[in-house]
């Protein structure tokens, strides 16, 4: 078998027992990688309705067939588990360097069960594995812990995926860091690690996988390099990174501001991509073997000092910890980013939760008595900095906010709930459904809660002529970006299957897709080049859909149905500004009609949202039918 190591490591942290499974090739052909492999094990090895932070939860680290091929976009790995933030299945992808090194160390996936009696880390190297004591690492931020592990194992090239104090303190949106600046950011995977007393997984190996056609891989690598050099869009992405989103979200009033009250931020010019480039940026960062180099690395050499080893704010961070908090100062935003990264807390949920608390404070729902004396007005940079550190450390008012927006709103009452922007307990990423209508569907219906990289955004079909990449999916009718209708249901469903395939294969959404270096046909070429399979776009799209249907069935088992595919009340209130999106809102009827149409496209019951037995059989997932139909 080409592309894979053919080995999956199972580790019981409670007992210390480990074993290696060698699945047949047909298992890999069906589940391929990422969170489809992860979802398979999670479904099989967890009972319904377990506490995600109990030892009964299972977590899976996994890669895909192309991981480790020296081509842009093949650096990623995925963590799958039940989320402590949403109580749904969760899939959280990261770039960086850890994924390829896991494969070089001899494994396609690591499945973790139980809970270690004391803090430990897992050391995997060239087919060997051991659980090692980590009591001296517990409480350390990621940079310290990484250095200590490398020193202990006497190898500076070891790659480490691990947690800081945020994960240890079970912040429900704690993330997992690798190389200090790359993250399995969303859904609280770091808290699951913390609940298992697992500080880190260190990997190192020299077992390069065998690929079927190295010439095609080399040709694609060269093509990526040339495109980044010669294509304005790709070159600009390298130069300015994801913060370019301000360039197109700002002119249409799509920058979340002051807890989603407005789409126009008066200081956007102070925090956008060009401002970052001209002030705090040290250099572009990259992932393993990637020419796109879209990451930000910032440095501030005077107080409050920002360490470039922790990377820099991506668009999501800049918006959620900037405009969403009424903060137009890149120094403060960069510092919040550093704090979140060293403590391993998700910057999106952190910014969302602090923004919600600020909104409640300004509405008089909470006072200084509730906030440990912090004046939580929008724009209070000192309070935002202090609070992000308190969340990371699990201290005082920060400990409460570490529970996430939904749980805090529940505690603060009905008026607070009206200001809480989340779906299934997870905070929104920084793209506004009022402005990009399809995201109303995506955020409400995605199996792991709101996500901005699970379907194509509305701008891509805003004007004729629509790109051939989307026309080939049957999307040939231009639509206003803010419209929410049947065409948008198609946009979400068709592109969601494609995006899901990219995630399943552990490839990068910024390299393989509709606006990126390679389209989905080239993704097929890469899969064939690494595996030797004669796959095609149909099979790849079916793999993407299989992941979605498996996730839907898992959530169904956990009690999630149409009643949970909803939007927060705040989105039904007109945006309060005079900018381009002033007065925009979600129309309830449009949302309900589009949701039913989307359910129909997905093969789900249009009233209950339930996945059918026949759909699961179509996906080759008939083994989950008896459990999925439990009510």
């Amino acid at each position: 078998m080409k592309g894979f190591t053919g080995k999956i490591l199972h580790v019981n942290l409670s007992s210390g027992a480990c074993n290696v499974e060698e699945p047949e090739e047909r298992f890999y052909r069906k589940y391929m990688g990422g969170s489809l492999i992860g979802g398979y094990y999670l479904f099989h090895h967890t009972a319904a309705k377990i506490d995600p932070l109990s030892e009964e939860n299972v977590m899976v680290f996994s890669v895909g067939p192309a991981t480790g091929a020296a081509v842009s976009g093949a650096s990623r790995h995925c963590v799958t588990s039940k989320s402590p933030l949403t109580n749904t299945i969760a899939s959280s992808e990261a770039g960086g360097y850890w994924g390829p090194e896991l494969k070089f160390s001899g494994f396609d996936a690591v499945v973790l069960y139980g809970k270690a009696p004391n803090p430990v880390y897992l050391w995997i190297h060239d087919g060997a594995y051991e659980i090692r004591d980590a009591q001296n690492l517990w409480g350390k931020v990621t940079k310290e812990a990484q250095a200590m592990i490398r020193e202990e194992l006497n190898d500076e090239k070891i790659r480490i995926a691990g947690i800081g104090p945020g994960g240890e303190k079970l912040v429900r949106y704690a993330c997992i860091a690798n190389e200090l600046a790359h993250f399995n950011g969303r859904n609280g995977m770091g808290a699951v690690m913390g609940s298992k007393n697992l500080k880190a997984i260190a990997v190192r190996g020299h077992q390069k996988p065998t690929f079927h056609d190295e010439d095609i891989i080399k040709r694609m690598a060269q093509e990526a390099t040339e495109k980044v050099r010669n294509d304005e869009g790709a070159a600009a992405f390298k130069e300015l990174g994801t913060n370019q989103n301000f360039e197109w979200n700002a002119p249409v009033g799509g920058v979340p501001t002051r807890n989603w009250s407005s789409g126009t931020f008066e200081d956007v010019e102070k925090i956008n991509a060009k401002a970052i480039k001209n002030t705090v940026l040290k250099r572009s960062g990259t992932c393993w073997s990637c020419a796109q180099s879209c990451k930000r690395v910032v440095e501030i050499t005077e107080a409050p000092f920002v360490d470039p080893d922790y990377g820099g704010p991506e668009y999501e961070t800049t918006a959620m910890c900037g405009s969403n908090l009424g903060i137009g100062n890149l120094v403060t935003i960069s510092k919040i980013n550093e704090i979140c990264n060293k403590y391993t807390i998700d910057t999106i949920s952190c910014g969302g939760t602090i923004g919600f608390a600020m909104d409640c404070y300004e509405h008089g729902i909470i006072t200084k008595e509730d906030t440990d004396g912090l004046e939580l007005n929008f724009g209070n940079e000192g309070a935002a900095l202090q609070l992000s550190e308190m969340i990371g450390k699990g201290e005082g008012f920060g400990k409460l906010l570490g529970e996430g927006t939904a749980r805090v709103a529940e505690r603060w009452g009905e008026e607070a709930k009206k200001l809480a922007v989340h779906v299934k307990g997870k905070e929104f990423p920084a793209h506004m459904p009022q402005v990009k209508g399809s995201l109303a569907l995506a955020y409400s219906c995605l199996p792991f809660g709101p996500d901005h990289v699970s379907s194509e955004h509305d701008g891509s079909i805003a004007e004729a002529p629509i790109s051939y990449k989307l026309k080939s999916l049957g999307l040939d009718e231009p639509q206003d970006t803010s419209d929410l209708n049947e065409v948008k249901s198609k946009l979400v469903w068709f592109t969601q299957c494609g995006y899901s395939a990219v995630d399943t294969l552990s490839l990068c959404q910024f390299i393989f897709g509709h606006w990126t270096l390679f389209d989905l046909n080239q993704l097929v070429d890469l899969v064939n080049a690494v595996s030797g399979w004669k796959t095609n776009l149909y099979e790849i799209m079916m793999v993407g859909q299989r992941r979605i249907q498996l996730f839907r069935a898992y959530n169904q088992r956990e009690g999630f149905h149409a009643k949970d595919d909803v939007l927060p009340e705040k989105l039904y209130q007109p945006l309060a500004d005079v900018g381009p999106s002033g007065g925009y809102t979600i129309n309830r009827d449009d949302f309900q009609k589009s949701k039913k149409y989307y359910y129909g496209l997905a093969g789900w019951d249009q009233e209950t949202g339930m996945v059918s037995q026949s759909k699961l059989m179509e996906m080759g997932l008939d083994w989950i039918v008896p459990e999925a139909l439990l009510q």
Partner: protein, 90 residues
């Protein structure tokens, strides 16, 4: 309503500014809203090979919003056509 030729501003955003080598240019198009916007698209393709992957805003509105509002069915020289590149997520 009589259609005439109007010279209006086409404003570029994001990496289109680099391609055009200017944040804005003046373009003469028909004052008929739909025809004028189509002529802008043709201009974008012919002059800069910008074929897809962008949104158009007329001042702060899309064309269909302006048509629905029906306030200004004709383009005027004070209108600004904004050409905004698109990217999903990030």
């Amino acid at each position: 309503m009589k259609c005439v030729s109007v010279k209006l501003t086409v404003e570029f955003y994001g990496y289109f500014i680099d391609r055009v080598k200017s944040p804005a240019v003046k373009v003469a198009v028909s004052s008929d809203l739909q025809k004028g916007v189509e002529e802008v698209k043709t201009f974008l393709f012919n002059a800069y090979q910008i074929e897809s992957g962008y949104m158009i805003r007329i001042n702060q509105e899309s064309m269909s919003q302006r048509l629905k509002r029906n306030a200004e069915p004709l383009l005027t020289e004070t209108d600004v056509i904004k050409i905004i590149p698109v990217m999903s997520g990030g």
